[in-house]
Symmetry: C5
Subunit: 355 residues, 5 copies
């Protein structure tokens, strides 16, 4: 999340549809898992090649092929051939800096989303990954950059066969994955909310330029999150309004529910942005306040002692004819005068509420 610019530069000049992996290069092995299920039975397999999934393609039961790891462009090419995917779809799968979008290609839908993940150590930046979905009438293909626990609850649900998940079609399964991605945003938002609270405390007790930089850093993370949620909201809105025939009416109600959650996410993001702006204002005014305080100390000290030093200076002059110098009570009198002047000054400052 540190570099805001997209890294498509390596692709400049290549014809569209060229399968070049754009994004962080990952070294783990590509891993393919396959679920085939209907209400009664369920089959779960790890397969070696995309070709092993082809026989499932035309079965009436639902097939879910999950691919973790994108570095092996051969797998992608095989996938494209086996399922008749458009070259641009394959390119978008590999280009992991995509913004969320939804493309209706007639036989199947293509959805791209971003998943956000909390870092292992609480100080680290939030990472994001791309997840792609290809949804056909009876099959669902999901691609992730790296294996992760995001979809495990869905797998558990499939195995357990509770709820609608085994009864709904591939569209309901796809909805469940979108739902999981959006739920993950709440986890990330909660973590960001905690960081904001920590920053707010620090702002109250001891604001430093580092606090300012931390505020700006959080602002950027939230902007990056925002850039992923807004187009996702648009995607889900279009799906839930029945723009595609693959998503059937009963699933649309559930999509509207997910849509409500994305709107909630956006509202939380906008609130965070406002809170951070407010913190910036408090930071700037606290700097002014401290400067005010410093100035007051200086002014009080200088205003009391500079005139007194002047008086002492007068009686330090070496004129021959200074009658006061010979008075018996001259010294105590002048000390008393100085004391009184200082007290008057202090009273003046108290009345001005400086001390």
């Amino acid at each position: 999340m540190s570099s805001p610019q997209p890294t498509r530069v390596g692709k400049v000049g290549l014809p569209p549809g060229s399968l070049v992996h754009v994004g962080r290069r990952l070294t783990e092995k590509t891993c393919l898992t396959l679920f085939n299920f209907d209400e009664q039975h369920i089959e779960e397999r790890t397969i070696a090649a995309v070709g092993d999934a082809v026989p499932y393609r035309n079965r009436p039961s639902v097939t879910w092929l999950n691919i973790d790891g994108l570095h092996d462009t051969g797998v992608l090419a095989a996938l494209g051939e086996a399922f008749g995917l458009h070259p641009l779809v394959l390119e978008d799968m590999l280009n992991t800096e995509q913004r969320p979008k939804f493309e209706d290609l007639g036989d199947y839908l293509f959805i791209v989303m971003r998943v956000f993940m909390l870092p292992a150590n609480p100080e680290g930046g939030i990472r994001s990954e791309q997840i792609s979905l290809v949804i056909g009438p009876h099959f669902l293909i999901t691609l992730q950059e790296k294996a992760g626990p995001l979809l495990d609850p869905i797998r558990e649900g499939l195995r357990a066969g509770k709820g609608r998940i085994r009864k709904g079609g591939a569209d309901y399964l796809a909805h469940a994955i979108v739902d999981a991605v959006v739920d993950q945003y709440f986890v990330v938002l909660e973590a960001l909310g905690e960081r904001i609270e920590v920053l707010e405390d620090r702002l109250m007790t001891r604001p430093t330029p580092d606090t300012l930089r931390a505020i700006q850093g959080l602002k950027r993370e939230i902007t990056s999150l925002r850039r992923s949620v807004w187009p996702l909201r648009e995607v889900i809105s279009r799906l839930s309004r029945g723009e595609s025939e693959i998503f059937e009416e009963p699933t649309e109600v559930y999509l509207r529910d997910v849509y409500d959650h994305t709107v909630q996410t956006i509202e939380a993001i906008e609130t965070f942005r406002e809170v951070l702006s407010g913190m910036l204002e408090i930071y700037l005014s606290s700097i002014s306040n401290r400067m005010n305080e410093v100035m007051k100390v200086l002014t009080i000290i200088a205003t009391i002692f500079i005139p007194l030093t002047f008086v002492a200076g007068i009686y330090g002059m070496n004129f021959e004819y200074m009658p006061e110098l010979r008075w018996r009570w001259g010294y105590p009198a002048i000390l008393l005068f100085m004391l009184l002047s200082g007290a008057v000054m202090l009273l003046y400052f108290r009345r001005k509420r400086w001390i």
Copy 2:
């Protein structure tokens, strides 16, 4: 209202439609009250279980079932079964961090709103609660997190039988509840307006960093209110334009009236936001002004006495040949000179309008 992030985290990974109470957990007993009325007669009962309301469901007279308290998910499940409610509707009822929305489910409408309540002590934060409505052709179900006096005037009206309330159908009753919720916003806005006036007075007399924090705090409360009113306005606008058949034409005129009130609320909110922004500017400029004043005092004192001290220093030097020191009128002359210099300085400052 202190934590801006939504608290759905506990639900991550659960299938949609799971009945888990999301929100503050309340310990009071769930309480069910039922009204059944037409223009001539009225019946009012407290019932023990949702099942007792089922026989009323198909009567031509209007039935209003009010449920206070959401912690007993069993009641919700029974409600869902008795009235054939969609699982997502039940989930939304329990998830008390919903934003206002309206869902047309064919046989019935589902409306979610937020009620705002003033705290018992005038310093406290404003609380908000969720109120859900299910509106069918002859019945109305309302759910609140906690029993409160919000709907008491409507109950009184029903018992007294004055006005349209007994003549209108379930849709008119639903409108009356929406109207009561919006009227409550005016109460809250008036309280916020008074707080803003108090803050404005404090800003004029003695602004402190606490004033700034109070301004920011009010801003957040108003933002939270705003987040509830904007979608409610959208909900009422859609209802009043006849989007649903359950709301009949005579009621739509009344809904347009409520719509006007929400627009008025929004305008008041936007005005408050502008006023608070203006107060922030006044706060910041008053800090600058005070620093200016401090600086002026310092400069006046230093500019008058530093040169005079220098003069005294000259005649404190121990040179052997300093003829002035031996002059008879040297000391009074130098005192006079100092007095005149000081006076000239003061005149200069007066001309610069510093004093």
Copy 3:
């Protein structure tokens, strides 16, 4: 215009349509005047009760009933009955904190506008009042909170019978009233423009925190004006596009003209807002500039005299072996040295353009 919150609180809990006067309570008597005219003849009467207007209702000539004063809810109730007005229309007439709106109720149109009035003394705040119009095919009812000179030119025009005013129907007469209200905005805007110019002069010569508060005060008055003009523009736009059949085509051209005037008003308002924002920036930077000037005076004085005082201090030391003290020309030499140092400092400041 001092309290930004709407004052509907007194109505909370009452059923919609309850005739309670919301707004400032006025003590003058309600006054009803009636005009009945066509191209040839004109009749002008002051009537005692609404009932006296009923016989005119179905005449082919145009009838204009004007009511000044809203505190007598009995008059309103009679009006509702005599002309078959919807209870919500009557309620809106009484609730004098309405935003401008237009409601088509089939047989008649209902328009609410706000009139702005300059205060008697030039320092006072701008007052606003509500004016309601009910327009039927041959009659027009106008309601004002208080009798005022706003509609006098129209009455004069009717009596004189010049122009289209006697030839057009009730719709043309209604247009003339809307036109008078919008023209009144120009009067108020001109007064505000003069106040802004006065403030600008004060800002250039001697900005004080009061100037800032005056800027903020003007901003609020303009915001309040803006809140009335924007919805009025919408109302006139809808009328001029022929949304209602009561406004006939020849009058629509005139309404488009009024519409252009509201747009001009809005542009003037937006310009005023920009000008006031610019004044705020000038104010803030003038504070910084003055602080700069104060700092410069302090720095010049301190930088010249502190080193010189140090030199004087050296020769004020009581060491036994300080050969300079015994030199014949030591004292004049050191005085010369001090003079030169001061001159060098002054040259340095001149080169830095501080003086």
Copy 4:
């Protein structure tokens, strides 16, 4: 351009359509010139009265009547009668504070635009004038407040008969005038751009409060320009989309070209606004920077000499038992110590990069 408020106040209370000249009163004589042309022949006349133009009205060749000077309302009344113009059109022609607009009155179109003119002396404000067009199937009437060189190139083109100008109809001629007005905006924008560059230079070398006022002044001129271009863009967009039948298809391509130019103008205006905002930020930060510099000088001087003066003060004390005062090398030693302290201070400031 100095008074932002519209000056319609003199018309308040008059019925719409009253012919009163609103705007600056000009004393030159009204001047009427007439062109009648087709591809083969061309006739150019100065006529004495509007009536002289009537015989040309129904000729198949194109007639262009240009009127310079609006103060003679008799000419306008005659024009209205001769060409059957709507009273509101005549009123809009006289009211020279109109915003650009376009009105389709069936038989003819009415277009109002604003022309901007550079002042004679480069320091002066930019003036603006109103130009009105009435476009019929075979005739074009143009009205300007004052004779000017704006339309001279078009007259030259007509006389020379080059290009499409003699072949196109009245609509093409009207387009050419709109094009000339928009081209004039580029001239004004270039002049404003030069002023901005001058201001930028001044901002870099020696920013004063006058610079700030000049920035604000330019901002207002640009806002005023913007207020004229935005509605003109809307006018041209509607004409180029074929909203009126008087503008025929071949001319619409040319109008789209003019439309592109207005969009370019708007972009330049928006860029200027951004540049001026950036200049404001630079101005404010340069004030802060200069205050910083002043503070540094003060702090360096004070920090070096105040401690040294203190040391000198110690050895100026008159205690009887101060052994150092009698040491042979006491005086040189203390001088050396002071020199070293000063040097250490200077090194410290250098390390802090203050000097």
Copy 5:
């Protein structure tokens, strides 16, 4: 990119369609190259005159005519005649300050885009050039201000015959050129991103007024880029939605892909703008912080030594009766007292966290 105003002033007064080159005048020779290809064969020629391209015009194979250099208006006139182009199209080709646009002229489409180029030296400003496309059913004409390497990969692709480029029609070739232009934006954005990172580092270590000016400079470059990308996005959006029949359905999918890239570009631009705004805030607050630090040093020194100097001043007074002066331990006692006072001050500052 230094002058924000458009330079159309030289054209004011000329009739539309006049072929005058508006833009920087370039001295290289105009160079015409021609490709003619279908799936099987390909022909590549450099031609001397536009006339040589005419025979290719009606062939079923695709013809691409590329023209580098615009200064020879004769070539443009010949082109217009040979391919029947509208005079305004020719004018737009020559006017190289166009904003991106797309015009459907029935037989052919006209597209204008801007190409951005990195300067040779890394400190220089980003240059931009105009590229125009005329797309007919079987031919494509491209015009550039100057020969450049932008289209070389496409030429290579044509020669090699890989991918869709030889199979698609003129519309696919046009898409490839639009794609190349958009890809070039990513290159420029990456370079701007690197400059921003350099500036951010400088901001952290040593911010100067130059840093502020560099931030403002980058802001302007990004604004200029933005002004080119937003209308291009609109152009591509309209093409990809099938607004023109020349772009056939298979190519539309590829255009949607390019559209996604422009949206990504816009998001990167908006992010850059936010980052630069954040940097401005950091800059301003770092100035305040440094002033704070300077003030603290001054206050610490002054607060410690001014009171001590006063004490020394007291014992420098020449009163005859000052018993302390004669005490044996007076001098050491007063030194100790001074030391302790200074230490107490330092402790106070430490507790205030000033040191």
